[in-house]
C-alpha cells in the first residue's frame, strides 16, 4: 500500500469505482439469478421452496418495466402513487466475484483522469493510466454493491498465480467495507509483475471452499490458455455454479493501433519482441479475435454468459445492458 491509500479511507474509494452516474442507473435494477438458487429464504426468484418467503420488507417506487402484480394497490389508494411491495426474503443469490490480478492486467492505455470521472489524475498508488485491473475492481465493486443492496451474499477473490486476497461471502453490513479493502490492497504492483496467472490453481483454491451453488463472476482479461479456461469453466459447471465472464480488455489491445516499431515487453515474463506493429497487426487481431470467439463459444456451450468489457467504456452502460439482458433471460426462462 502506498502512502496515499493509507490516508484515504476505502469508503471514499468507492466513489472512484462507482461513479455517481453509474450507481444512479444501477439502483433501479434488480439483480436476479438466472438459475434457481438454493437458499433458505424464498423470494421472487424461482425457487423450489415456494411460499416460504412472504415477509414484507419495504416499498419502492414503481419504474417502468416492473411487474404489475407486485404493485401495492393499498398504497396507491392512499397516496395515489405507484409503489412496489417488496418482501424481505425471496431467495439468496450468493455472488462470488473472482478478480484477476495477473501481470497482464496491469496494462492500460487510457489515462486515469479520463476513466475515473472523479477529477483525479492519478490512482491512489500514483499510476497515471487506467489499467485493466482498475476497471476490473470497479466492475467488481459495482457488482458487489448491487448484490449487497439486494441483501444477497457476496464474496470476493483477488487472484493471480494463486489467491491473493479474499472476502468470504457475507451479506452483513461490514462486507462492503471488506470488499473495498481487499480490492484496493491487492493491486497489480510492479513487484507483482511477471506474475503469470494460474487459473487451475486458483480454481482449486476457490472451489475447495465454496460448497453451495452460487453465481460466479469471472472478471479477467482471459489471457490464459484456452485449455485452462475450458477446464476452469467445466469445473465450475460441474460444481453447479452459474458463471458470468467479464472479459476486460483495453482498446489498445483490441485495435493494436501502434505505428512505430518498438520493443514489446511481456508483463508475465514473456520475451521482449522487437517488431513492426503494423506488420503484425492483422495477424495479432486475428489471433485475439479467434481467442475471444473461442471463449465465447465455450461459455455458451456451458450455458454461461460472456461479456467483453472495454476499459474505455464507462462501467454503467455495460453493467446496465448486462443486467437488463440477464433479467430478460430469467423472465424468459420462467
Amino acid at each position: 500500500m502506498t502512502q496515499a491509500s493509507s490516508v484515504r479511507l476505502p469508503e471514499q474509494d468507492a466513489q472512484l469505482y462507482l461513479h455517481p452516474q453509474t450507481l444512479a442507473r444501477l439502483g433501479s435494477f434488480e439483480l436476479r439469478a438466472k438459475m434457481i438458487v438454493e437458499g433458505f429464504s424464498a423470494g421472487s426468484h424461482a425457487s423450489p421452496y415456494q411460499g416460504l418467503s412472504v415477509e414484507f420488507a419495504q416499498h419502492r417506487p414503481y419504474v417502468a418495466g416492473d411487474d404489475l402484480r407486485h404493485l401495492d394497490w393499498k398504497v396507491y389508494g392512499r397516496t395515489d402513487r405507484l409503489h412496489l411491495k417488496q418482501h424481505q426474503q425471496e431467495t439468496t443469490l450468493d455472488l462470488q466475484i473472482l478478480v484477476d490480478s495477473s501481470g497482464s492486467m496491469a496494462f492500460g492505455s487510457r489515462t486515469f483522469a479520463d476513466a475515473s470521472g472523479a477529477g483525479r489524475d492519478t490512482s491512489i498508488d500514483g499510476r497515471s493510466n487506467w489499467s485493466k485491473f482498475d476497471h476490473a475492481t470497479a466492475l467488481a465493486a459495482a457488482l458487489a454493491y448491487i448484490t449487497l443492496r439486494q441483501g444477497d451474499r457476496v464474496g470476493v477473490v483477488v487472484h493471480a498465480d494463486e489467491v491473493r486476497g479474499q472476502v468470504k461471502r457475507s451479506s452483513s453490513q461490514g462486507t462492503w467495507r471488506q470488499i473495498v479493502g481487499v480490492l484496493s490492497t491487492h493491486p497489480v504492483e510492479p513487484t507483482n509483475r511477471n506474475r503469470k496467472g494460474d487459473l487451475r490453481r486458483v480454481m482449486d483454491q476457490v472451489l475447495g471452499k465454496t460448497t453451495n451453488r452460487c453465481l460466479v463472476a469471472l472478471i479477467t482479461d482471459a489471457f490464459y490458455e484456452l485449455e485452462d479456461i475450458r477446464d476452469a469453466l467445466a469445473r465450475l459447471k460441474f460444481a453447479g455454479h452459474d458463471v458470468m465472464i467479464f472479459q476486460v480488455l483495453d482498446k489498445a489491445e483490441e485495435d493494436f493501433a501502434f505505428d512505430d516499431a518498438a520493443p514489446f515487453e511481456g508483463l508475465e515474463g514473456e520475451p521482449t519482441l522487437r517488431i513492426d506493429p503494423r506488420a503484425l497487426r492483422k495477424a495479432y487481431i486475428e489471433a485475439m479475435q479467434t481467442h475471444n470467439a473461442e471463449i465465447d463459444r465455450i461459455a455458451r456451450g456451458l450455458g454461461f454468459d460472456y461479456h467483453k468489457v472495454s476499459t474505455h467504456d464507462y462501467l454503467g452502460p455495460t453493467l446496465a445492458a448486462f443486467i437488463a439482458k440477464r433479467n430478460a433471460t430469467i423472465r424468459g426462462a420462467k
Binding site: F107, A262, P263, L267, D276, R278, A279, L280, A283
Partner: protein, 786 residues
C-alpha cells in the same frame, strides 16, 4: 571497368553502411512498451516471422542498393563497348618504333619514313585514355633494341615527348628482339600486377622494307599465356613504293698491312695506298643500268671534323649493269702528308639518295714503318750447303731473299731477326729477348725444344695480337709438342705424333693444291690466289704431320692432293675473343728438303712473305665497327669517346655509352661516325670507325602477305594500319584500337536504375508496413460490435 571519379565512388560505397547503421541505431532508441497481450503477439509473430524477416531484408537490400547505385553513378563508370562489351578494361599499348637505317628512307622527298612512323605512333598513342588506366610502352627497334619506356607507363604525354625525340640510327632493325622485349613485358605485367583485364596492343611502326623486316628471323610467340587475352598487333601497312638507294658498304685498303712511306722513298708507289670500295644498290633502278659517283679521300683521323669530301678527293664513277646490286672499284689513294705513324682514315662517300646514313663509310688504317719478324730456331753455319739448311734458314731466306747483311735486313720493311730456342727457356714474359717482345710475328721452327713457360709466353704474345707461325721439327720422329700446342693455344687441333710418309709408291711425293677460302676477309693468301695453281704445280710433299681431328676445311690454306690432309692451317685461336688474338699458322711439313721440296721452289718466298704480311696486318685489332653491333675490338683501351657522327641529326644517339672499363656490355654505337679509343691514361691509342649497317640499306618493299604471315607467327591478331599519309592513320587505328570514341560515362542509366529501385523500395515499404491493410482493419474493428 574504369571510373572517372574513383574517390567519389569509394565514398559512396562506404555510405552503404548508413541504412544499416540507421537500422541498428533505431532499434536501440525506442522506448519499450509493456504489453499484456503478448500471447497473441507471439502467436502472430511466430506465424509471420519468416515473411517479416524476408521483407526486412528486402527493404534493407533495396535501400543499400539505392545508395550503391548512386555511388556508382557518382563514380561515372566508363564502359568501352568495343568488342569486349561489358568486360572492357584498360589497354596497354606497346609501341615498337622502327628507327633503323631503313626508316631514314625519304620516299616523297620531304618526310622520312621515321617521321611518318613517329606521327602514326603518336596518333595511335592519342587513342589511349589515361583516365581509363591506359598505359604505353616505347621500344625502339633499331639495334641494339632500346626499351625507352618499359615497363609501360601511364604518363602518356611523356611517352609522346619521347617519341618526338626519337632519331634514326644507322643500324639495322631488330624487330624480333623488340618483340621479345614486348613479350617479356607482357608476361611480367600479367604475373606481377595480376591485371588480367589489361588488353595488350602492340603497334609496330615500320615501313617493313627488306632492310628492316628480316622475314627469315622468326618473331617470338606472344600468346603463350592461356589465361590472358590474345594480344592484338597493329602494324603499319608495309610500303609498296620502291625507292632507289645506293650504299657504300666497304672501303678498305687492299692490303691488310699498310706501310708508311719512308723518308727518301720516291716513285709512283710512294705514299699511295690501294683502296677498294664496294657499293650496293636497291630499288627499281636495279632493273636498269646506271651510274654512281663515289668520292674517296684520306684524312688524318685526329683532325677530321666533317663528312664533306676534301678538295683533293678522288671521284670514281661506277657503272652498274642491269640487275647488278653490288659493285666495287679499286683506287690508289694518296695519303695525307706528314702522317707519321698515326691513324689515317679512308673515307668513301657516294651521292645523296633516299637514305643518307649509308652514303658514307670509313676505314681507319694504321701506318706501320715495318714488320718485325723473329725466327726461333737454330741457323746453320754460314756458307753451308743448301742441303744442310735448317727450316730457320729457309724462313729467314724467304723473308729477306736478297744477299743482305743482318743490319740491312733490320732496316727493310720486313725486319728479320733470329733467336735460339734456348733463349726462351726458363724466363718469364718480361725477360724475353727484346726482339721477341716487340715482334709482330714469331716463327717457331724447333717447337720440341720449347718448355711450358715458353709456350705460355708465345700464347700471351699471340693474345696481344702477335702472329705465330709454327712448323714441326724436321729432325724429330716423334713430335711430342703437338699436344702442348693444342692445349696451350687452344686451337682444338689434334695432331698425330708421328709424321706420315706421303711419298707414294714412286717416292715422288704428293702434289699440293690450294683450298678455296670461305671468307675473303680471313684469307691470308687472297692476293696470291691467282698465281697459286702455277706456283703449286711443282711442289711435292714427302712427309707430313697428319691432323687427326679438329681442323675445319676453312682453316686449311693448302692441302695435299687426293686427301683432306692439310699442309698449311691458319686460324685465330680462342673462341669469342678470337677477333683480338693474332693469327696462328701451322705448317704441317717443315721447310726442310727431307719433308718437302717447297723451300726450293719459287712458291716459298711469296708464300712466306704473304703469310707474314697478311697475318700481321690482319692480326691487328679491328678498327671498323658496324652500327648497332657490339664492337669487340677495344683491346687495350679503357675509354671510348665519340668523336664525330657523320649525320648531323644523329647528335643525341649513343649519348649514354660510357667508358669501356667498367661496362660489361660491349660498345654498340647506333650512329655511324668516329670514336676515339683511349687508354687508361687518356692517351688516344686508336680510331674506331663505325659504319652504317648496309644490310638495312635494302629499300625493296616486301610482300604484304609475307609480312602479315611473319607477324602472325607471334600468335597475335594482326591488322594493318594505313600509314601512307599523316592523319589517315587515326581512323583505322581508332577502329582497331577501339579507343577513339570516348565512351560516355554510364552514370545516367545508373541514376535511372537507382530511381527505379527507390520507387520499388517505396512501394515495398508501404506494402510491407501493411498501412493499406491496417486502415481496412481499423475501420472494421471500429465498426464491429464489441
Amino acid at each position: 571497368m574504369a571510373f572517372l571519379n574513383p574517390m567519389l565512388l569509394s565514398l559512396g560505397l562506404a555510405s552503404v553502411a548508413i541504412p544499416i547503421l540507421i537500422h541498428i541505431l533505431m532499434r536501440r532508441k525506442r522506448q519499450p512498451i509493456a504489453w499484456g497481450a503478448m500471447q497473441f503477439l507471439l502467436q502472430a509473430y511466430q506465424q509471420q516471422r519468416k515473411r517479416l524477416r524476408l521483407e526486412q531484408m528486402l527493404l534493407l537490400a533495396s535501400r543499400c542498393l539505392i545508395i550503391a547505385l548512386l555511388a556508382l553513378a557518382l563514380g561515372k563508370p566508363v564502359i568501352g563497348a568495343i568488342r569486349e562489351g561489358l568486360a572492357s578494361s584498360s589497354r596497354t599499348l606497346y609501341i615498337v618504333l622502327d628507327n633503323s637505317l631503313t626508316q631514314q628512307t625519304t620516299p616523297t622527298g620531304q618526310v622520312s619514313s621515321l617521321s611518318l612512323a613517329k606521327q602514326n605512333a603518336i596518333t595511335t598513342l592519342n587513342q589511349l585514355d589515361m583516365q581509363r588506366g591506359d598505359r604505353a610502352a616505347l621500344i625502339l627497334a633499331g639495334s641494339p633494341v632500346q626499351s625507352v619506356v618499359l615497363p609501360p607507363a601511364s604518363d602518356l604525354a611523356q611517352v609522346r615527348r619521347l617519341i618526338e625525340q626519337v632519331e634514326a640510327t644507322d643500324s639495322s632493325a631488330d624487330i624480333p628482339a623488340a618483340m621479345e622485349a614486348v613479350r617479356a613485358a607482357i608476361a611480367s605485367d600479367r604475373t606481377q600486377s595480376e591485371r588480367t583485364s589489361t588488353d595488350a596492343i602492340i603497334y609496330v611502326a615500320s615501313d617493313a622494307r627488306t632492310g628492316s623486316a628480316n622475314l627469315a628471323k622468326p618473331l617470338p610467340t606472344l600468346a603463350t599465356d592461356t589465361q590472358g587475352s590474345t594480344p592484338r598487333l597493329l602494324a603499319s601497312t608495309p610500303v609498296t613504293q620502291a625507292v632507289d638507294n645506293v650504299a657504300v658498304r666497304i672501303v678498305e685498303p687492299l692490303r691488310a698491312l699498310v706501310l708508311a712511306s719512308r723518308e727518301g722513298q720516291t716513285g709512283p708507289d710512294a705514299g699511295v695506298v690501294p683502296v677498294r670500295v664496294e657499293l650496293v644498290r636497291s630499288g627499281p633502278s636495279v632493273n636498269s643500268a646506271g651510274v654512281s659517283q663515289v668520292a674517296l679521300w684520306a684524312a688524318q683521323a685526329t683532325s677530321i671534323t666533317a663528312s664533306t669530301p676534301t678538295s683533293d678527293a678522288q671521284r670514281v664513277t661506277i657503272n652498274w649493269t642491269t640487275g647488278q646490286t653490288v659493285a666495287s672499284a679499286t683506287v690508289s689513294l694518296a695519303l695525307p702528308a706528314n702522317t707519321g705513324s698515326s691513324d689515317v682514315l679512308l673515307i668513301a662517300r657516294c651521292d645523296s639518295d633516299a637514305i643518307m646514313g649509308d652514303n658514307i663509310a670509313a676505314s681507319p688504317i694504321t701506318l706501320r714503318s715495318g714488320v718485325n719478324v723473329v725466327v726461333v730456331g737454330s741457323l746453320s753455319a754460314a756458307g753451308n750447303r743448301i742441303d744442310s739448311f735448317t727450316p730457320a734458314d729457309w724462313f729467314t731466306l724467304a723473308l729477306a731473299p736478297t744477299e743482305a747483311q743482318a743490319w740491312q735486313r733490320l732496316s727493310s720493311e720486313l725486319r728479320v731477326s733470329s733467336v735460339e730456342s734456348r733463349e726462351l727457356l726458363g724466363v718469364n714474359a718480361n725477360q724475353l729477348p727484346a726482339s721477341v717482345r716487340e715482334a709482330d710475328a714469331i716463327i717457331v721452327t724447333q717447337p720440341h725444344e720449347l718448355d711450358d713457360g715458353a709456350w705460355r709466353a708465345l700464347h700471351a704474345a699471340n693474345l696481344r695480337g702477335t702472329m705465330l707461325l709454327i712448323t714441326p721439327s724436321d729432325r724429330e720422329q716423334t713430335q711430342l709438342w703437338a699436344d702442348t700446342l693444342t692445349e696451350t693455344l687452344g686451337t682444338g687441333w689434334k695432331l698425330a705424333r708421328e709424321a706420315t710418309d706421303v711419298s707414294g709408291t714412286d717416292s715422288q711425293g704428293t702434289a699440293v693444291s690450294a683450298t678455296t677460302s670461305a671468307s675473303e676477309q680471313d684469307d691470308l693468301l687472297a692476293l696470291l690466289r691467282p698465281e697459286l695453281p702455277d706456283l703449286l704445280r711443282s711442289v711435292r710433299v714427302q712427309r707430313v704431320m697428319s691432323v687427326v681431328e679438329g681442323a675445319t676445311a676453312s682453316q686449311a690454306l693448302l692441302s695435299l692432293d687426293g686427301s683432306s690432309q692439310p699442309l698449311v692451317l691458319a686460324t685465330r685461336p680462342g673462341t669469342q675473343q678470337s677477333q683480338q688474338a693474332g693469327w696462328l699458322v701451322l705448317w704441317l711439313a717443315p721447310p726442310s728438303l727431307a719433308w718437302t721440296d717447297l723451300p726450293a721452289k719459287p712458291l716459298m718466298v711469296p708464300l712466306v712473305q704473304e703469310l707474314v704480311r697478311q697475318g700481321v696486318g690482319k692480326s691487328a685489332p679491328p678498327r671498323i665497327g658496324l652500327a648497332g653491333a657490339a664492337f669487340t675490338g677495344t683491346r687495350g683501351s679503357a675509354e671510348a669517346a665519340k668523336q664525330l657522327a657523320w649525320r648531323e641529326d644523329a647528335a643525341t644517339l649513343d649519348a649514354n655509352l660510357a667508358s669501356l672499363s667498367a661496362s660489361a656490355t660491349p660498345l654498340a654505337p647506333q650512329a655511324a661516325g668516329l670514336w676515339a679509343l683511349r687508354d687508361a691514361a687518356g692517351q688516344r691509342i686508336a680510331t674506331l670507325a663505325v659504319n652504317a649497317d648496309t644490310s638495312a640499306s635494302d629499300t625493296t618493299p616486301l610482300d604484304t602477305q609475307a609480312v602479315e604471315k611473319w607477324l602472325a607467327a607471334t600468335g597475335a591478331e594482326v591488322s594493318f594500319v594505313a600509314s601512307d599519309a599523316a592523319g589517315t592513320a587515326s581512323e583505322s587505328t581508332s577502329q582497331t584500337l577501339g579507343a577513339s570514341r570516348q565512351p560516355p560515362p554510364i552514370s545516367l542509366p545508373l541514376l535511372i536504375a537507382a530511381a527505379v529501385v527507390a520507387m520499388l523500395e517505396a512501394l515495398m515499404a508501404r506494402w510491407f508496413s501493411h498501412a493499406t491493410v491496417d486502415k481496412g482493419t481499423d475501420k472494421s474493428a471500429e465498426g464491429a460490435p464489441a
